[in-house]
């Protein structure tokens, strides 16, 4: 287990995983920003599908595979400055597949036939969990370019975050599968061999004539790229297994994402990967935890029932409002009698929310125990008042992550 500070000091990769909707993308971006501002590293944040404003916060304007370097201009309004460099890129599955095919195709004719095949699009969209494979493939590509010291990758939403780790292996298995061999081994005369005949007859009856043949033809073409693909997948797999690769699990303190996080940490262990860090996201801010709000709620309850005090406070509010130039209209529309009633109601709501917040924070502390159960070391990120929309938001989130 590693602290955030130690994690960003390491060269290599940080794979950020966790259930959908827990804030992986923001956390990944914040870790990237933190590394680039605290160290002199060249940092890349690879993200799958960021919210528009988060993408803008990273200076990404359009969807594409291109790595964009974030200029210090973006940090203009902030006290924190870049020490290293920061780049970001989104992962475009289709474009990355096209790249792969172009790289591995033995000749131009094969490349064009594959790219234009009507089955190809379908294949890139879902075959062998292509999003996952592409994510690790892009990771490898960026890493082997040597242009970055640290790469933070935000994993794609999938059935579970493990599919990304198994993707390279699955790609290799795919090429060595008996089925693929059966289907493509000289597909012309294979149709006529006695053993395969019932297969094809039945498949034709099931699927419609010719479909199987089309598929076989496509895969025959695809197999010409086997060597390239398999070698690459092996390298990608080796990179994931490298000690330079760290894993961070992000979760919110709710049952479903937490169960996924627990499952993930067990599965990582089984695959001999180390979970370096767990991050509990969207927790009630520290200063609002504990007994303090309960005490305030009790006191508020007394205060709002004290009619003498309420009328004094009403008067003060009316006077402040009159004298204040900034708070223009506010209570001018509320008369004094109504104001004291409103004041009591508002104080009651505040009292209720103080209690509600305490309740949530108690539940969160209990669930935090479960995070402690799978991670010896974890860090927390607070619930934020708004969506992250600029680099300052990421800097703040990164700083909060960095506090132990």
């Amino acid at each position: 287990m590693t602290t955030v500070a130690e994690l960003i000091q390491r060269d290599g990769l940080i794979v950020v995983c966790g259930s959908g909707g827990v804030g992986k993308t923001s956390i990944s971006a914040a870790l990237g920003v933190l590394a680039a501002t605290q160290t002199e590293k060249r940092v890349l944040v690879l993200t799958v599908d960021p919210a528009k404003r988060l993408a803008n916060a990273l200076g990404l304007r359009e969807f594409g595979n291109v790595e964009v370097q974030i200029t210090s201009e973006l940090f203009k309004t902030s006290n924190t400055k870049l020490r290293g460099s920061l780049s970001a890129a989104m992962i475009d599955t289709k474009a990355s597949w096209d790249d792969l095919i172009s790289r591995h195709a033995p000749d131009e004719a094969t490349r064009n036939s594959v790219l234009q095949n009507s089955l190809y699009k379908n294949l890139t969209e879902r075959f062998v969990h292509s999003h996952d494979y592409i994510a690790v493939e892009r990771l490898y590509q960026a890493h082997s370019s040597g242009a970055y010291d640290l790469i933070v990758v935000d994993t794609p939403p999938s059935r579970n975050a493990l599919t990304i780790l198994d993707a390279p292996k699955r790609m290799q298995d795919f090429f060595s599968s008996r089925l693929l061999k059966l289907l493509t081994a000289n597909s012309q005369w294979q149709l006529l061999t006695l053993a395969a005949k019932p297969f094809y007859e039945i498949a034709d009856r099931l699927l419609g004539k010719g479909l199987l043949r089309d598929v076989a033809e496509f895969f025959t073409l695809f197999r010409t790229m086997e060597t390239g693909f398999v070698e690459r997948a092996k390298k990608v797999e080796a990179l994931l297994n490298d000690s330079k690769t760290s894993f961070a699990i992000v979760t919110t303190l709710e049952d479903a994402p937490l169960s996924e996080a627990e499952f993930l940490s067990v599965a990582l262990k089984e695959r001999k990967f180390t979970t370096h860090l767990a991050i509990a996201n969207r927790i009630i801010p520290k200063e609002l935890q504990g007994e303090v709000l309960v005490e305030q709620a009790g006191a508020l309850n007394n205060v709002r029932q004290n009619s003498e005090f309420i009328s004094e406070l009403t008067e003060v509010l009316v006077n402040t409002d009159k004298s204040s130039e900034t708070s223009s209209n506010t209570s001018s529309e509320i008369d004094e009698a109504n104001l004291s009633k409103l004041l009591t109601q508002t104080l009651e709501t505040i009292q209720n929310y103080a209690q509600e917040t305490t309740k949530i924070s108690e539940m969160q502390s209990a669930l935090l125990g479960r995070v402690a159960g799978f991670a010896d070391n974890f860090t927390v990120a607070p619930m934020l008042e708004s969506d992250i929309a600029d680099i300052n938001g990421l800097i703040t989130l990164g700083e909060k992550l960095n506090i132990v």
Binding site: L119, L183, L206, L207, A256, P285, Q296, T349, I350
Partner: protein, 313 residues
């Protein structure tokens, strides 16, 4: 919404699709319907929510009028072969399921047709009044409901092709079938929901039954209370209160402020969802469900289903 016979519940990962599907199932049972809930990915979320043991391809009645199953392509294939091709022995040929799986993966629409076909078949058989599908997330649903049509274009002949016709008749009948898009009031989820409703409209003839916003934080203040809250939050007022009562209410204000900020943020996202949806005519329903995410699992489904019952009645 619950008057239809087939509902696909979809949305971005993590928005609570399974919870909403299970709650809709319970709400339909409360309306006196016989319900089949079907989980599309074998993740097991549905069985946890319904507090029952692992589900299988064969539907199991887990409480009166509520049955549940989990989808499986290979079982769907086996059933398809035995029912429609009337050749039960075929599916037993070793390796066939494997090669079929392989080819089905590559050919557009084949797998989806099997899966959607099974669901439509349950509708056609009429053992249930409504089939509620805890469907796959946004990325796949369009391909799924459009699969019979896609397949017809791709494989112009053959038995599978013929089978797609009756499926389409069920899927494209808005009296019978609808997609329910679930979202939360977060930027990404809202954008994805809007994109999905648009895609369903342009790429399929399947009707969108409703958009459900899950986990909407409750309203904190009325408009005039909001004004008072802002006044209380001034330094001079805070010190007046402290001076008079010995009470510093700063942290309580902060806690309330956090809840208020989150509510406002949610309201803004819902507003942009609403305006986005009005541009995509016709829109059936926009339902808002309160945030029960801090409830235990059993309470979650029962609370949400009574909320849904109230909303839908």
């Amino acid at each position: 919404m619950l008057d239809r016979q087939l509902l696909f519940i979809t949305g971005k990962g993590g928005v609570g699709k399974s919870t909403v599907a299970a709650s809709l199932g319970r709400a339909a049972v409360a309306q006196g319907k016989r319900v089949l809930l079907c989980e599309m990915d074998a993740k097991g979320a549905l069985s946890t929510l319904l507090q029952t043991s692992e589900l299988s391809f064969t539907p199991r009645e887990i409480s009166p009028n509520l049955s549940a199953m989990t989808m499986n392509t290979q079982d769907a294939l086996r059933e398809y072969v035995s029912i429609f091709l009337k050749t039960p022995f075929v599916a037993a040929i070793p390796g066939l399921a494997g090669i079929f799986d392989f080819v089905a993966d590559a050919a557009p629409g084949v797998k989806e047709v099997l899966v959607v076909g099974k669901l439509c078949y349950e509708v056609r058989k009429g053992n249930y009044d409504i089939v509620i599908v805890d469907a796959e997330s946004t990325g796949h649903i369009v391909a799924q409901v459009a699969a019979p049509t896609t397949l017809r274009n791709f494989v112009p002949l053959g038995p599978l092709n013929e089978q797609t016709l009756w499926m389409t008749a069920i899927l494209e009948d808005s009296q019978k079938t609808g997609v329910v898009v679930v979202t939360t009031c977060q930027e990404m989820a809202v954008n994805e929901a809007l994109e999905l409703v648009g895609a369903l409209q342009t790429k399929t003839k399947v009707n969108t039954a409703a958009v459900i916003v899950n986990r909407v934080p409750s309203e904190i203040f009325t408009k005039s209370q909001e004004i008072v809250f802002n006044q209380l939050n001034q330094a001079s007022i805070k010190s007046f209160i402290a001076e008079k009562t010995g009470l510093s209410i700063d942290l309580s204000l902060q806690a309330t402020g956090l809840a208020r900020a989150r509510r406002n943020l949610a309201t803004n996202h819902i507003a942009s969802l609403r305006s986005g949806l009005t541009k995509l005519d016709p829109i059936k329903e926009l339902l808002l469900l309160p945030d029960f995410s801090y409830q235990s699992t059993d309470l979650l489904v029962s609370k949400l289903s009574s909320e849904l019952e109230a909303e839908l009645s």
